[in-house]
């Protein structure tokens, strides 16, 4: 049996389909556009279908339709969600202010959770964590100081619109370079992840598909 509980023959078919899709995607490397487009459309179509199925089976039916069908009076929030969802879907044909209401709730709710969580879960604990307790070594003190200096310089870089002195402009410039450095580090990690992914696909073709090294 395969990992999905399929019969053995189906597992082999799955490996061949995966190998074919990988090779179709890589066809662009030698300039072949059409096979690449097939793979691209296959991916887009399957992804759309999967997400639609996920939304219907794991969100809409169990969390909206089922509660409304079984006990509409006992689920007032589901009724509100249905109305807001309906307004969102019908927004092209409704007055603008009506369509804006569910979007505003969505954006406001997301921002409230994200900002509240960032403040309580990250900013405050990290500030407390940066403050060295009495009697710590120089290395820890230096680390805390470096964090405070870098954070201050980056914050100064975000000061836009206000008149700034030459010194503040210099500090803001250093802050911008620090941001660029951070982005560079992030990009480096991203490249590493993609190289590992590519290597993993090659290993899949070599071992699972061609049976080398088994």
């Amino acid at each position: 049996m395969s990992g999905f509980g399929w019969p053995e023959g189906w597992a082999t078919l799955g490996v061949w389909v995966a190998a074919a899709a990988t090779l179709l995607s890589w066809s662009i490397l030698v300039g072949a556009r059409r096979p690449f487009l097939w793979a691209q459309r296959l991916l887009a179509g399957m992804l759309t279908g999967y997400l639609a199925l996920l939304a219907i089976r794991e969100v809409l039916v169990p969390r909206l339709v089922a509660p409304l069908v079984s006990d509409p009076a006992g689920n007032p929030l589901a009724v509100v969600a249905l109305v807001l969802g309906g307004v969102l879907v019908g927004s092209p044909w409704l007055p603008r202010w009506m369509g804006a209401a569910p979007v505003a709730i969505l954006v406001g709710g997301t921002a409230a959770f994200a900002l509240g969580g960032a403040m309580v879960g990250t900013v405050l604990p990290q500030i407390i964590g940066t403050v060295p307790p009495p009697g710590v070594g120089l290395a820890s003190l230096g680390g805390g100081l470096a964090t405070a200096v870098i954070a201050s310089l980056v914050l100064i870089a975000f000061l836009h619109g206000a008149p700034r002195s030459a010194g503040m402009r210099l500090l803001g410039g250093i802050g911008r370079w620090l941001i660029l450095g951070g982005v560079g580090v992030w990009l480096g990690y991203l490249v590493l992840a993609r190289i590992v992914l590519l290597s993993d696909r090659l290993a899949f073709l070599g071992t699972e598909w061609l049976g080398m090294g088994r």
Binding site: M1, F4, G31, G129, W186, A193, L198, S199
Partner: protein, 288 residues
């Protein structure tokens, strides 16, 4: 126009070596992967504290109830997959139960594959629970601190969780499998302050390192394995520790971490491609 339908050839020009560079890149990487596949990024004697920390933290759970927050993404999962499977092997060996929940579509797809892998590997049904997908990102996390067991979930594990409150607090620990979207940060920010008694452990790709490692320093994360190096360290610890019985049957912990040679070659080739792109006429910073 001399452009053909199938192959992209610049009008009036022959294919050059530069056109073949991307394909050459993949061929070289393929050779490196197949030739150097057994040379993994191994511990160099000084095993990383992140790897030993996760091993110890999972060991401490014993036969506990573990919530697996599975939100890996396909772009980075290859990097952490060996550590994830090794963690499952360790938990299965110790008798823990695993309940899976996902907040991203990609995470849900990968979680389903891993659940099926565990089931087909012989893990008992009463030790696996699929809590499904929860839409709403941060809001869903907050909701999970109140209720996480869906009405459709059945079995002894689901009943036991309901008896303990059916929320994140009903678990002994949370193992966060992070990706580039939802990961350790979201769990620390939304769940940590609301359910402080449940330790958060995490496995994340290297892209999450700058973001996640400060939480380990402040003890908001009880353990963190991040990046290919720590993944290799952790897999080595579990492999040495495992008995050739249940753990090996449940999940193949022989899944090797990323091989060192192709990754190194890939980095060198990427730098060459970047240098070539920077040296091209019209590149940013050069006159057109």
């Amino acid at each position: 126009m001399t452009e053909r339908r199938w192959l992209r050839v610049r009008p009036g020009s022959r294919p050059t070596l530069r056109d073949a560079l991307p394909a050459l890149f993949v061929v070289l990487l393929a050779v490196a992967t197949l030739v150097g596949g057994s040379v993994t990024i191994e511990a160099d004697g000084a095993t990383d504290a992140g790897a030993t920390g996760l091993h110890a933290a999972l060991d401490a759970q014993g036969r506990g109830r573990m919530l697996v927050a599975f939100d890996a993404d396909v772009g980075t999962y290859a990097e952490v997959r060996p550590a994830v499977r090794a963690a499952f092997a360790q938990l299965v060996r110790d008798g823990a139960s695993l309940s899976f929940v996902s907040l991203t579509g990609e995470g849900r797809a990968l979680a389903l594959a891993e659940i099926e892998r565990l089931r087909s590997g012989g893990v008992e049904a009463n030790r696996l629970l699929d809590l499904g997908y929860r839409a709403g990102a941060e809001a869903a996390l907050v909701d999970a601190t109140r209720s996480i067991v869906p009405a459709a979930a059945t079995g002894t594990l689901a009943d036991a969780l309901r008896a303990s409150g059916a929320s994140v607090g009903a678990f002994d620990a949370v193992l966060v499998i992070g990706g580039s979207d939802i990961g350790p940060r979201a769990w620390v920010e939304q769940v940590g302050p609301r359910v402080p008694g449940v330790p958060l452990l995490a496995i994340a790709p290297s892209i999450a390192l700058p973001q996640a490692s400060p939480y380990l320093a402040t003890r908001q994360l009880a353990a963190l394995v991040v990046g290919a190096r720590q993944v290799a360290d952790y897999v080595a610890i579990v492999r040495d520790d495992a008995t050739p019985t249940e753990a090996r049957a449940a999940v193949r912990i022989t899944d090797l971490p990323p091989a060192a040679f192709p990754v190194l070659l890939g980095i060198v080739l990427t730098l060459l491609v970047l240098a070539e792109a920077a040296a091209r006429p019209g590149a940013a910073g050069t006159s057109r």
